[in-house]
Symmetry: C2
Subunit: 251 residues, 2 copies
DNA sequence: ACCGTTCTGTTCTATAGCGTACATAGCGGA
DNA sequence: TCCGCTATGTACGCTATAGAACAGAACGGT
């Protein structure tokens, strides 16, 4: 048996003997044929996969059926971060892009390695997953949606983070954020203004019809919003039974 | 200390009294004027920011100077995940997009909350950060680069995860991954073939000139590669011990 | 050796967004 | 009050990519 396998998984290889032995006693060696779906959008993940000579694509599949790759995972990584990030699932699909093999570990076994970590950590991880969702959706949106749709998404994301329905933001600035021309924003904003959805002048934008804005936006806003709400429900910490909630974060 | 009631930070609000009190004894209340840069690409972060009534944009600034927003952070989150993810910095810039305030915590204080967590966790987190980098860069690439460039990037990312210089992948499949038309891939691949960079037929692609491929690719590949190498150097620690694997799962 | 299927190549038109140039309009300081 | 600056509006040609339709080419089972 060769000592230095050419296609071992790098993450597993980097672990100490102690941890590795504990994990490997529960590890399965599985074949991953091309096209196999490891998990669908929203699926509760049961295993994490450590690819060795296979490649897995994380895709976001849109309502239209069109898809875009969010990221790609090979022997440098693992599939199923949501299991330890705390979200248990993601809005993306994992498909085998290049057939091969992987080590597979029941999610529970991975979580067992985490069972001493406190609430702060769990909270951070869950937030991180929400952030990742946003990033992914941004990539998708950049690929597939019009400036008009993206402006709506962007306004809604901003609106959710502000106390009023006004934001101070020149079209030039928005263009930089979206990575488009200022003129493109001018046109899109003009349309929204003509529709009575927003009102603006010299860097002061007032949202008049939020509902319409949501209608005009692409699905990307809703996806991020829904996932963020799911991951971070923000139970008020002033509640007296706060500490009794904490154990639910531990598995 | 003033406890900003209407616009408290949601993450802080969700913490238990115990943890919150420990954190708040080291917390600063800072003003964030519009346009202030919280950190530049590659900067070692000293603080994490919990915005209350401000919005911070995470931007990736390209070599050309053009920029694209990776994500946006408001009172639902925090700026500086790299501090607890283990990377200490990111390739992105954080700019105040909407002036306001935030709670600021020295990074070390946050890390103190993490100091009992084992090596597995740290490894996972570092990987996650690398993945996040890839996602971010995908968003950037989708916005700004041609199909030709994106194909090069994609081939390189795949190549790095495979043992040989051959990959089995139809143009149709690649098109799905990149979120573009199959015809677009056909054209881009044709150009590469004519340049002698690759050779392919019916789903079998051989990379002949990797160096050229890197030249033709946009910067996005290099950014992700460099960051991944930095976060996960895979130091030649203990090699895997075959005997620790359950016999039936050995290769 | 054949035939159907699956890949790849080509060509047409349509359009969104870019680059560029320049015009207008509102605010704010002197 | 005026000037200058910044923000917004508009217009024109250009290009990359989408959408669609179809032709050729190679593989693989029977």
């Amino acid at each position: 048996m060769e000592m230095c396998k050419p296609q071992q998984n790098h993450l597993l290889a980097a672990l100490s003997m102690e941890v590795k032995e504990r994990l490997f006693s529960h590890m399965e060696w599985v074949e991953l044929p091309l096209g196999k779906v490891l998990y669908e959008s929203g699926d509760t993940m049961r295993h994490v996969y450590f690819p060795t000579d296979s490649i897995i694509s994380l895709l976001y599949v849109m309502e239209s059926g069109a898809s875009a790759e969010i990221s790609v995972v090979g022997n440098e990584g693992l599939v199923g971060i949501a299991l330890f990030m705390g979200g248990e699932s993601t809005p993306s699909r994992a498909v085998v892009q290049s057939g091969g093999h992987a080590y597979r570990l029941p999610g529970q076994r991975l979580k067992d390695e985490f069972n001493r970590h406190g609430e702060l950590l769990m909270l951070m991880l869950r937030y991180t997953q929400a952030l990742i969702t946003q990033m992914s959706q941004t990539a998708v949106c950049n690929r597939h949606h019009s400036i008009d749709q993206q402006l709506c998404r962007w306004l809604l994301l901003s609106l959710d983070r502000l106390p009023s329905n006004k934001l101070t933001m020149t079209q030039e600035l928005i263009a930089n954020m979206l990575g488009v021309r200022r003129e493109g924003v001018t046109e899109a904003a003009g349309k929204l203004q003509r529709l009575g959805v927003i009102e603006y002048s010299r860097g002061r934008i007032t949202v008049l019809d939020r509902h319409k804005l949501e209608e005009l936006s692409c699905e990307c806003y809703a996806v991020v919003k829904r996932e963020t709400d799911r991951l971070l429900p923000y139970t008020p910490s002033t509640m007296p039974d706060e500490r009794s909630i904490a154990p639910k974060f531990r598995r």
